[in-house]
């Protein structure tokens, strides 16, 4: 418990900053909705002027944009981008920061197993992600109800919003496995930003091809908002893949961390 609380405290500041950024993002985007929906037909004309691949890459869907959920799911792509960076940062830093700060020696000479160290860190980071998501969900719900011009399904709104957490989990576990495999990470940000943007750009390409198999490559395409809006459900094969991916990476991370030599920084 002491390690969990210590870790939680360590991530407090960054969690607050990331949560605020996400809130700012959703507030700014959604506040544009009233103006947008008023001029919906004009915007549709403009958008039709864009070549189709560009529209697909940007996630613009002409027909649904005038509804609050359609508009929200368009902006949500950027929310997940932001959230993915937060999760990847967390995942990559929880182990590597001990190496950088030379605190691994301190922590691992205490009477605790490495498994316990890892678990406390995982739980603390997960708690931060959950807190971020809860606050994000609350503030985006309030904002959406403010700007909505007509009735909308809160269930669908919730289903879309919560995929932020699912995407974050994937980047989080990816970050962890990287942080135990790479002997010394000098700086977390280049790694997390690089990885997240690489997957984001892959996601844009995948969108233009429309190839379903390709969607398995990038976490950004696991939860297709159009599919959720149409079917009120997630695609089960992607859920299974995600769970499989998370279990594999986390188990592997525990294993590697147990066997790892902890050297001088």
């Amino acid at each position: 418990m002491n390690m969990f609380l210590h870790e939680l405290k360590a991530y407090r500041k960054s969690t607050i900053i990331w949560t605020c950024s996400l809130i700012a993002l959703v507030v700014i985007f959604l506040s544009m909705f009233p103006a947008f929906s008023k001029e919906a037909t004009a915007f549709k004309e403009i958008m039709k002027g864009f070549p189709e691949p560009v529209r697909k890459a940007l996630g613009l869907s002409v027909d649904s944009m005038s509804s609050i959920l359609g508009f929200y799911s368009y902006m949500f792509l950027y929310t997940t981008l932001c959230g993915a960076i937060q999760a990847m940062n967390l995942g990559t830093s929880i182990i590597s920061k001990e190496v950088r700060g030379k605190t691994a020696d301190f922590l691992l000479t205490r009477p605790v197993t490495r498994g316990a160290v890892m678990t406390s860190k995982l739980m603390a980071a997960l708690t931060c992600l959950v807190i971020t998501n809860v606050i994000y969900l609350a503030s985006s719900s309030i904002m959406a109800s403010f700007v909505a011009t007509e009735k909308y399904s809160y269930k669908l709104f919730f289903m879309i919003s919560i995929t932020l957490f699912f995407v974050q989990l994937m980047f989080f576990s990816l970050g962890i496995i990287i942080s135990v495999l790479v002997p010394k990470i000098k700086s977390v940000l280049p790694i997390s930003l690089g990885t997240v943007f690489a997957f984001f750009i892959i996601g844009m390409f995948v969108a233009t091809t429309g190839d379903d198999a390709m969607r398995y490559i990038t976490p950004f395409k696991y939860f297709d908002t159009n599919y959720i809006l149409k079917n009120s459900s997630y695609e089960i094969s992607f859920i299974i893949t995600e769970i499989g991916f998370i279990i594999t990476t986390i188990t592997a991370s525990y294993f590697v961390y147990y066997k790892k030599d902890v050297h001088f920084a």
């Binding site: 700060g101 030379k102 605190t103 691994a104 301190f106 691992l108 000479t109 009477p111 605790v112 920084a265």
Partner: protein, 294 residues
């Protein structure tokens, strides 16, 4: 009873440095010195018995328990001061010490204030703002606050001023009197000489000598300094048992180990102006072991 037993411990890092076949025991209640130059394998050995790194072969036990299998259990009674000091960002000294104490199931707050007072450490400063020497003090307090039965120190005094070193040594001696066993790794020989009863010398990953300090100092070597009346043959003293032979004009310096009568007869055969015979300090013995191995 042995507190630490190291058996044929080997750790190889591919081609790079490591340790080969290191074996030694540290007995309960002793202060054991572990000396060797930088990169000889002192830290590697210590990190292996703390299971921070895993041995390629061989094993080590602490308190009679395997140091990997029972690692967490053993570490309850170990205080460790690493050679490089860690810090958590933005943490106050007292917060770090409290965090450290929270791992042990005892109340350490009194001991923390006591130790901080002895080491003259300001508990309310941020660790980031401390000088190297003061960070070292944090490390010392952290290593001792739970009154461990085994204290492992990896080059503990670097960065401490002489006064603090003195206080620190007194602190260690006090802990030792209370029953703590101490493993002290160092390349500063005077501090090993000052504190330790036995010493192991490590070089290029191998233990090359293990003995009582007193034996190392007294029985084996004498330091000779002879002032000659006349110049003699350079090789007059060049026989087995003599090392570190140095001739500077009329002055001859060397270390001798072996039958003292033999060397006295040798000296009596020549005309001398003056003669000094001294106990060599550890440094000289130590250099001697090193040079011999080259």
């Amino acid at each position: 009873m042995n507190v630490i037993e190291i058996k044929n411990l080997t750790k190889s890092y591919g081609k790079a440095r490591g340790i080969t076949d290191v074996s030694f025991n540290v007995e309960k209640g002793e202060i054991f010195g572990f000396i060797g130059p930088n990169g000889a394998g002192k830290s590697t050995t210590i990190r292996t018995i703390l299971s921070l790194i895993y041995p390629t072969s061989g094993s080590a036990t602490i308190f009679g328990k395997d140091c990997i299998e029972f690692g967490p259990d053993i570490r309850k009674e170990i205080g460790y001061l690493p050679s490089e000091i860690f810090y958590y960002d933005n943490m106050k000294v007292i917060d770090l010490l409290k965090y450290s104490a929270s791992f042990y199931k005892k109340d350490c707050s009194k001991r923390i204030t006591e130790l901080a007072q002895i080491m003259d450490l300001d508990l309310n400063k941020k660790i980031d703002d401390l000088s190297f020497g003061n960070k070292k003090k944090v490390g010392i307090v952290q290593g001792l606050l739970h009154s461990p039965k085994l204290i492992i120190l990896d080059e503990p005094t670097s960065g401490l001023d002489p006064l603090m070193q003195q206080k620190f040594f007194e602190l260690l001696e006090e802990e030792n009197k209370k029953g703590a066993t101490i493993l002290l790794s160092s390349h500063i020989l005077s501090e090993v000489q000052r504190l330790c009863t036995r010493v192991a010398i490590i070089k290029e990953g191998k233990i090359i000598k293990l003995d009582k300090i007193s034996t190392l100092q007294e029985n084996n070597h004498k330091k000779f300094k002879i002032e000659m009346k006349l110049k003699i043959d350079e090789n007059y003293f060049n026989f087995s048992g003599v090392t570190n032979l140095e001739i500077k004009g009329n002055i001859i310096n060397f270390l001798f180990s072996g039958n003292i009568n033999f060397i006295m007869k040798k000296i009596s055969e020549i005309e001398i102006e003056n003669l000094w015979i001294e106990e060599p300090d550890l440094e000289e013995i130590f250099m001697h072991y090193y040079e011999k191995e080259d």
